[in-house]
Each structure stands twice: as structure tokens, then as C-alpha cells.
Symmetry: C2
Subunit: 495 residues, 2 copies
């Protein structure tokens, strides 16, 4: 991986003096086009060995380009708010919006590589981290992010020299830290492990660019030219239809027997039984949220289902049992301007709860494979890849001690019609049935097919779908409350 | 303040049973209208003595209304990110957008009252905090926020009873904390101090509503009815033009001698001198950002000035000297959808830097008294009150150890014309002069008058304006760099 980065690359001062102003001008131009087009963001990762010019590169890029549209992030120790959430949360919150450039100094690679160097993880744990990274980066590039990954390399001798030089000069000696000296001792190990990590994560959509870091002129021009070409190329392509649309179709059962129409929707509960069970499970839920360990987990309850399936009413039966200071409800509507300038999962990452908190989503990230799929708001490619992206998102939540409980509330089309007609009779404005509701109803079969695919492809062991037969509201609410209690209990007991 | 809240208010169970469903329905209706109109947010503060039903009120409001459009915030100890910023930052970030309801459990009153009770502050410090609160709340209500402040009160005897009741019942005994018992001992002191605080901050735009908290029926109906009426009234008024427009004009000097046209714009620096001074001050600035105490302060540099005054070039001369991982540049453009749903200072609060960080604003919160005033984007009332609001914002920054450095870059209209014409000749897209630039130029005198008012009214001792004669770019850049160095040095020395 590092062979050509130990050849002693060098650019003569005279050539640099000629080339630098031209490159600089071209970079400013392309950055301007990027900001005007607002079609995609650029993320530049800066990694590599100490002393190879990582900081200098971040600085020169800010000097060459318009720093008002560059955001440089150095990721040190996680803050309190960050450490309560999955490790990727801090990177999600730092993502640049479309049209902007983010320079990430230290990235999602830092922890996996360093931990392995210090023997805190074993090889298969490193391998798992790298696979997660490949998934994450594929999502980013599929979402249109131009992801540039620079690795600045120095041979062992050159690194020693560089550190000596820095130490000698009183103006730069402060830059050599204890940690640098410790890392130098680990040079061979670090090279092996980072080489492995780079090979495993150098994908077609996001290849690693290894640059020899000893000669500043070579380093700067190489990095600058690469950025220039990468943005240029994407700007040219962004007007073309680059996504293939000849994706294979999903399998639809010929006999129309789907998981959703196989449910027994005739199940009911009598009112008296409902009242006593409601009280019982709400009491149990209240106790669970006051459990000593509830502060150590995050909780998410996700609701999906057709219009009028009873999501709102079920949510109220949950929140009635819980102190208002603990929960937060997110009604998922059309994305805002700021959300549209980001990958589609960004808006849900934003709301991920900290420890001891419960977030309830009234409709969720599954919008991509339901409404966006059926209404054609995204391409087939986009919703097809979403299944894996969502599973990946959810596995990060669960690994971070989140109790993630997902409900699909199923009603029959006849029951929906009955509820729509009832709502039209009553005067409560909030239950008004809109034209859109009727239009969605016409696509009932398409929505059901999409939901069936969704359940099949995202019902994982760690985050299964709970299917709720909801023609009878009492039955649905009790089944939901009982499930929430069981799931929370299971999670709390597992700690 | 608490006399009528010790009378033993009570509502019979039968009356509650009749009134509650009606109130509930009305609240849901008005909440629906609020969410549909999206014209203003509602903030409900819940304060008072322990055991007076604060938590229960938050819960019942969530139960009565649609909890999907209510956000309940309990403010405990500040998180790491919060404690690095001015105390009000955590409340700014929790403000609900237009159309939503925020319930604040604990608020900006908690710390001032509690600190005074425990003798950590003296009376004049409390007084100062309360004056700040009055300013802040006036800003909120002027921005359209419906601010409802509930104080739940119990007489001393009733509080003792309540705590005993809670302790006796095994289901509720967990709710009585050590802190509650400690607070009970301080009852008289707490009553005196909170009474004083309530009187000082019960203003026409945001009066305190004191509610006797012993009887849950009385408490719930009183709070619910008040919220209902408050939102209803505002919804009715929000279509009317309620703001008076007959505000007194500002004084304009008859002889047209303003602070800005009194500047000597003929000052220049020769190129050789520029080069050596640039190097000198950039070196000094670099050292200052590596000063041991730089990590203990936050830094903000704010730029204002006419188009083509040289703001961008000056910013680059600053950032060249600083590690890219330290700073962040905010180019202030038109607000986003999320920003428009909040008070106008919200977008700047969002970006307030933590410790050891520098934020550079290319145009700032002064937009309200410059472009928004001149172009009529806000009402006269709005920009007139902005001077005091901005001073208040800045004083909070400075009190929180922020080095706040503000620059006004002044050029002559002739110099601007020259620069515009030069830019039209060159091919760099990023320097393109737009029609809007020419239109703004036509309003030169209006902008100058607005800037003169701004400088006069917001050049405070703690955050003075630095006026930069900018017809000569070299002169301007050196004066700016030198000022930044001096100001940072002064702040670092003062620690």
C-alpha cells in the first residue's frame, strides 16, 4: 500500500512557483461552482503518520480556497453528548451540507486503527469495524457525497528525521508531543495495521489516496490537484443521469399471500378487559422507566402503518404512563431545507436520544422504502440500497445500548374506509381527512407490497418488526404496551 | 405575590368531571390551529415549590394535548458543551419553532433563585440576573413567542403535608429526595427570594401566573384554561397589525457629519512595509492562538462593511496565521427555513464557539439593523429594539470569557465604484458583481446612516466597534491584524 509513497517524491521550488498559482485559481473556480450548484458536498479525510504534513495540508487547503465554505473538524476525545450516542453520531453531525467542503482531521478510521495498535481490539473486531466503514462510506457516496480520503505517509527513517527537525527548531519543538514519540515506537505495527485497513476500505466509490508527505511542495500539489479533479469530474457528471435504472425487480408472490394479509385481524379485546390491562401495563411501563438502569440505556419506539391505523392513539397510551421529562416525540413530515441538503438518514441521526431518554417516532426512516418508493420521490436504486443502510443504522443504535422497538400497525382496507368515513362526520379539525389521504388509499396494494418487502428485509434479530393487528383499537394498544414492557424489561435485564 | 395562592383553592370532583373533557377538546383544537398557522411558538415555564405539582402539570398537558407537537425539557446540570457557552445557550437551543409548544421544566430562573437561597450570590447579583431575564423575555415576546410563566405554590404547612403523604405511600416515596427535604428547611427564604424574583420579572408582556398547587383539579383546570386563552387570544391577534408603527425617528445630523464620513480614508501603507508588518502580526497572532490560556477563552471576530470593502481578503489574512482546526467561518446569508421559525438571534446563538475556538462571522447579527432596516425586511419596531437585544447578546458572550472583536470596514463610494468596475473586467466568477450589488450601491446613503446609528448604539465598553479605513487594502488588513492581536492579548492577560 505504501510502496510508491516511500520513493522520495519531490517537486522543485521553481516548478512549485509556477504551478501553485494556477492550481489555486482553478481550485477557487471549482469551489465557486460547487457552492453555486449546491448539488453535493465534499468530505476530505486527512489521515496518516505523524509529521507527514496532515495539519499543514488542512491549512494550505483553507488558504488556497475560500475558507468561508470549508469547515475543518478535528476529532479529539468525544464530548459528553457524543459519548452517550453511537460512535458515528459525531461524524454525522459534522457532515457538510450540499455545496460545502468538510475537512475531517481524524475520522471514523482513527479509533479502529489506534485501538488495534494498542491491542485493545483483536483482528476480527478490527475487521468488523472496517466492514461497517465500507457500508457507511457506500451510503455517503450513494447519497452523492464526494468522499476524498488522503493518507499521508512517511518512511520510518523520514519520520525520525522529521521529528528531529521539529525538535531542533525552537519555533516548532512544541509540536512534538509525548504521543508522537510513543507512536514512533509503534511505527511498524501502525504501518501494518493501517496498511491493512486501507486495503480493506479502498473501494471503487471511495479509494484511498496515499501521498508521500516528506516534501511539502509535492504533497500540496498532489492533494490540491486531486481535489480539483475530483470535484470537476463530479460537477460534469452531476447533470447526467449516472444511476443505472435497470435494477432487478424484487420478488412478488404470485398468489398475493403476503406477511401482512396473513395476519388475523379479527382479534379483539372487550372494553372491561382493555381497561384493566391498560392500567396494568401502563403501571408496569412506568416502573420500567424508573428502573435504576433505565439511565444507562437509550430507548426508541418507532411507529409505521397506514393512515388511520391508530399510531397517534397508541403513542398517547404510551406517553400517558411516562414522565414528560423523559420522552420526545418526532412526527416525521416532509424534510426541511437543511435536512434536504444532507444524506436522508441525517435527520434521524440528529434526534437519536441520549442515555435515559426515549424518542418516539411517528413515522420513521422507513419513509424511504414506503412513501418515497411508492410515490417515486427517490430512485429505485435509492430505496433498494436503503434496506442495508437502515439495518446498519439500527445495528449501531442497538450496539450502543439502545432498546429499539419497531411497530407496524396493520388494518384492513375496509376498516380504513370505515375510519375515514367516521372522521368525516365528526367536527374535530385534527382528524380531517385530506385529499392526499384518499389518494394514498387508492395505492393501498402498492403500499402493502412495499411494507411487506420492508418487513422482510429489515426484520433483523436485533431489531425485529412487531406486527400489530389493529382493526380493533383496544387489541392493538394492549399488544403494543405489552411489547414495549417486554422489550424494555429484556434490555434492562441484559445489562 | 403568593397571598391568593394560600387560600385553599379547590375544585369538586363532579365539576372537574364535567369541565375536563370540554377543556381538553378545546385545547386540542387550539393546538391544531397553532400548528397549522405556524406563526408563533408557545413557551410554558413551570416553576414553583417542590410538591406543588410541577411534574404532574407537565404530564397532564402532554396527555390533554397532542404530545407530538410538545417538547418537554428538564434542565438539570449543564452538559459539557453547554457549560462552555453562556448560560442562556442551553435555553436558546431548546426553543420550540413556530407552531410548536415547549414546556420548560426549570428555566433561566432556577439558577439565580437557588444561588441566592444558598448565599452564593448577593442581592445586587440577583438583581442583575433578573434585569437580564426581563431583557431576554422582552426579546422573546417581541419576536412573537407566547411566553406563559406558571409558578406553582404551596403554603409551608401544605408543603410539609404533601411531603409526608408522598413518603407514606410506597408508590410515591421514591419521589421525595434529600434535596426536597433540604429545600423544605429553606422554605421561608425561598419564598422571600422567589417572591421578589417574580415581582421583578412579572411584566406586561410576560406576567407570572401563580397557581395554588395543592388541589390537582384546581391546578390542572387553571393551568389548562390559561393556556387555552393565551393561545386563542394570540391566534386572533396574529392576523391584525398589532405593532404600532408610530415610533419616534432616530436623530439624523443636519450637517450630514457622521462618524463614518469623518474617517480619514486617505491612509495608506507601502507594499514593502505591508509585507513586513503582515509577517510580524501573523506571527504574533499564531503565537497567541497557541498561548496556554487560549483554551480558556472563546473568540469571535465579526466583520461588517459595504460590498467590496475587503472583508473576505481580511479574513484570509487572519486565517492564514491560524491552524485550520481552531477556527470556523460563518458567511451570513439569507436565513434557512429552520432559522426563520425562530427569533432572529437564534441562528447566531447556534454558532457560538466553545472554549479554545474562534468563530469568524462574515456579516453578522447586525444584519437586522443594516440590510433588514434599509430594505424593510423587518418592521421599524423590530430593528429599533434590536440595538438593546444585540448589546445584551454581546454582554453575555463577553461575560462568558469571549474575546469579541467587531470590525466595520469603511470605503468611499468612489472606491467602491472603482472596485466594482475592476471586478467586472476580470474573469473570476467569484468576484462577479450582481444586479443586487448595484442596487445596494444606490442606497449608499441609507446604508451609511444605518451603519452610523449602529456604531453609535452598539459600541459598548465591553464590545466596541473598530472602524477600519479601508480605501487602501494594505492599511486595512494591517490595522485589523494588529487590533486582533491587541484584543486577544488583552483578554489573555486579564485571565
Amino acid at each position: 500500500m505504501f510502496e510508491t509513497a516511500e520513493l522520495g517524491h519531490k517537486i522543485a521550488k521553481s516548478k512549485y512557483k509556477t504551478d501553485e498559482p494556477i492550481l489555486r485559481e482553478a481550485l477557487l473556480d471549482v469551489q465557486f461552482d460547487l457552492a453555486e450548484a449546491k448539488k453535493f458536498p465534499v468530505v476530505i479525510l486527512i489521515g496518516g503518520v505523524d509529521g507527514a504534513g496532515k495539519g499543514e495540508t488542512a491549512n494550505i487547503l483553507n488558504e488556497w480556497m475560500d475558507p468561508r465554505h470549508i469547515n475543518t473538524h478535528a476529532f479529539g476525545a468525544a464530548t459528553q453528548e457524543e459519548s452517550q450516542r453511537p460512535p458515528m453520531w459525531r461524524f454525522w453531525r459534522a457532515l457538510p451540507p450540499k455545496g460545502e467542503i468538510g475537512i475531517f482531521f481524524g475520522s471514523w478510521y482513527t479509533a479502529p486503527i489506534i485501538k488495534r495498535c494498542y491491542g485493545e481490539t483483536n483482528k476480527s473486531e478490527l475487521q468488523k469495524s472496517l466492514e461497517d466503514i465500507v457500508d457507511f462510506e457506500r451510503m455517503l457516496t450513494d447519497e452523492g457525497v464526494v468522499l476524498i480520503k488522503f493518507w499521508f505517509h512517511l518512511s520510518k527513517d523520514k519520520q525520525k528525521n522529521r521529528i528531529k527537525e521539529l525538535q531542533k527548531n525552537p519555533k516548532t519543538s512544541w509540536r512534538v508531543t509525548e504521543q508522537d514519540l510513543a507512536h514512533l515506537k509503534l511505527y511498524d505495527k501502525f504501518k501494518d495495521i493501517s496498511g491493512y485497513a486501507l486495503r480493506e476500505t479502498s473501494t471503487g466509490n471511495a479509494p484511498w489516496i496515499v501521498i508521500e508527505g516528506y516534501d511539502a511542495n509535492y504533497r500540496n500539489l498532489t492533494a490540491g490537484n486531486y481535489i480539483l479533479e475530483a470535484i470537476k469530474k463530479r460537477l460534469q457528471n452531476s447533470n447526467e443521469k449516472i444511476r443505472k435504472t435497470n435494477t432487478p425487480p424484487l420478488l412478488q408472490p404470485i398468489d398475493n399471500l403476503q406477511i401482512l394479509n396473513a395476519l388475523n385481524l379479527g382479534q379483539t379485546i372487550k372494553k372491561t378487559s382493555y381497561k384493566s390491562q391498560l392500567e396494568k401495563f401502563q403501571g408496569q411501563l412506568n416502573l420500567l422507566t424508573r428502573h435504576a438502569k433505565f439511565k444507562d440505556i437509550s430507548s426508541i419506539i418507532a411507529f409505521e402503518g397506514a393512515d388511520a391505523a391508530g399510531k397517534g392513539g397508541s403513542i398517547r397510551r404510551i406517553t400517558q404512563a411516562i414522565d414528560a421529562r423523559i420522552y420526545n416525540i418526532i412526527p416525521t413530515a416532509a424534510p426541511t431545507q437543511e435536512e434536504l441538503a444532507q444524506p436522508y438518514l441525517w435527520r434521524f441521526w440528529r434526534q437519536v436520544p441520549g442515555k435515559g431518554r426515549l424518542t418516539i417516532y411517528d413515522r420513521t426512516w422507513y419513509g424511504r422504502v414506503l412513501v418515497e418508493r411508492v410515490e417515486g420521490f427517490c430512485s429505485e436504486q435509492d430505496w433498494l440500497r436503503a434496506y442495508a443502510e437502515i439495518n446498519h443504522f439500527e445495528s449501531q443504535l442497538v450496539e450502543n445500548n439502545t432498546s429499539l422497538i419497531k411497530f407496524w400497525m396493520q388494518i384492513s382496507p375496509e376498516e380504513q374506509l370505515k375510519r375515514f368515513e367516521e372522521r368525516q362526520k365528526i367536527s374535530f379539525k385534527r382528524f380531517k381527512i385530506t385529499d392526499e389521504d384518499w389518494r394514498n388509499r387508492e395505492k393501498w396494494d402498492q403500499y402493502q407490497a412495499a411494507a411487506s418487502d420492508m418487513i422482510e428485509r429489515t426484520s433483523t434479530e436485533i431489531a425485529p418488526w412487531h406486527l400489530i393487528e389493529s382493526n380493533d383499537k383496544y387489541f392493538a394498544r394492549i399488544k403494543i404496551l405489552k411489547t414495549v414492557c417486554n422489550e424494555l424489561e429484556r434490555r434492562l435485564d441484559s445489562l
